[in-house]
């Protein structure tokens, strides 16, 4: 028995729900055909989400076929240039000349798990250097705002996948010069946020009755799953996702997060995928370049605005 899943015409981060509704519902079929016939546009966030869904479907023993690729030459060429099909294990001749990715996009990379990259620091530098090459050599934070933001975000989000998902995932990024925004997408096929609280033995896990409450909890500053470490200390402070959201919103951009049946976007978490859950966690960040000046000052201010800091403590003698 086989079934067909048709991709929506246009896939952006703001309508990722349409894609996930098409791809996430459970199947009893042994074959799934992914129909590209109406696809006109697919953003990096769409490609990352599709890859994770296909990986999850494939590991359940379902065969996957792509159909109607031949009629969609522009969007297919773009997806091919982003290494989407390569990550699917499909290689076919490229009709276009591979142009330079510098300052425009970063090909999709697999992260974590057995076959993916785990050197989050190096990968973050490579992506930041590719997207923002003109800022990479400066030592002045005021001149490297976007580079610093990309580097910081990619490394924090990859660490999240490695520490929390117990699985692999994908990362990709794109700069849109006309819109002047940078989009960073990362997702995994792991246990999801709720599953991570449970698997790490967090005392908060028992209070989580659904995916939306787990997402909301993970977005609260100071909440982390990784509270239990052999030495008693935690390797993170549970601020990564919170800060990513605030950084994006402070730039006038967007932040979306999907885990299980919950979708967080525009400040709300809603169970939009009931019965069609996304196995793992998907995060997408859109940041407007012009609003990012001195990233570290902006990040420090965000932490203060969130009430995370006790500024009355004098650190005067510590720094010299």
């Amino acid at each position: 028995m086989s079934e067909t899943r048709k991709l929506p015409a246009k896939i952006w981060d703001w309508n990722i729900e349409d894609l996930l509704k098409a791809l996430c519902h459970p199947t009893t079929s042994r074959e799934i055909h992914i129909d590209f016939s109406t696809l006109e546009l697919c953003s990096i966030s769409g490609m990352i989400a599709i890859l994770c869904r296909l990986k999850d479907i494939h590991r359940r023993g379902v065969k996957i076929f792509f159909s109607n690729l031949e009629n969609r030459s522009d969007v297919i060429a773009y997806m091919q240039r982003m290494d989407f099909f390569k990550q699917c294990g499909i290689e076919f001749p490229e009709e276009q000349i591979r142009h330079e990715s510098r300052q425009r996009f970063v090909e999709i990379s697999e992260i974590g798990g057995a076959g993916g990259r785990t050197d989050e620091g190096n990968l973050a530098i490579e992506i930041a250097n590719c997207l923002v090459p003109d800022q990479k050599d400066s030592c002045e934070p005021s001149e490297t705002g976007l580079w610093d933001l990309v580097h910081y975000s990619i490394s924090e989000l990859i660490l999240n996948v490695i520490q929390h998902s117990d699985s692999s995932g994908y990362v990709g990024a794109q700069f849109f010069p006309q819109k002047n925004w940078v989009e960073i997408a990362i997702a995994d096929v792991g246990v999801g946020i709720r599953g991570s609280f449970a698997r790490k033995g967090s005392p908060l896990a028992d209070k989580l009755t659904d995916d939306c409450s787990a997402i909301d909890l993970a977005l609260k500053p100071g909440i982390t799953c990784t509270t239990h470490h052999p030495y008693g200390e935690s390797p993170n402070a549970g601020v990564g996702l919170t800060l990513m959201r605030e950084v994006a919103l402070a730039s006038g951009g967007r932040f979306s997060l999907v885990s299980g049946d919950g979708i967080h976007e525009s400040g709300q978490t809603i169970p939009k995928l009931i019965g069609k859950e996304f196995c793992g966690t998907f995060v997408n960040l859109v940041v407007y370049k012009n609003r990012i000046t001195n990233f570290s000052d902006q990040l420090y201010a965000i932490k203060g605005d969130l009430g995370m800091l006790r500024k009355e403590i004098d650190l005067g003698d510590v720094f010299r």
């Binding site: 610093d148 520490q163 030495y231 990564g240 570290s296 420090y300 006790r310 650190l315 003698d317």
Partner: protein, 103 residues
């Protein structure tokens, strides 16, 4: 008070992003030095940036474990404004200051 100086670029490189790396440095080097009542000098010459994961794992856990009094044993030198902001935030983070684990 004796001094233990850590050249951070040698310990963790020019971009410190990994919390596990910070935690290992804390456990292997910093904790023993503090408990011997040494002054620990973190020299950030050549380090361009640190992430919140790294700074919280290292500096946040220092103050969480030993309390504010430990600050008189800590010196951060040659840090650019990016690194200073991250280290400051780790020291001042409420979740790190709320509970002090008895040594």
């Amino acid at each position: 008070m004796n001094e233990v100086k850590l050249e951070m670029i040698e310990c963790v490189g020019s971009f410190c992003s990994n919390g596990e790396t910070g935690l290992n440095l804390l456990v292997d080097v910093v904790k023993p030095a503090i408990e011997k009542e040494n002054r620990v000098i973190f020299d950030f010459t050549g380090v361009r940036s640190v992430n919140s994961s790294f700074s919280n794992a290292l500096f946040g856990n220092i103050i969480k474990r030993y309390g504010r009094g430990v600050l008189k044993q800590i010196t951060v030198s040659n840090a650019n404004t990016y690194v200073q902001n991250e280290v400051k935030a780790a020291f001042l983070m409420k979740s790190n200051l709320q509970e002090t684990v008895p040594v």
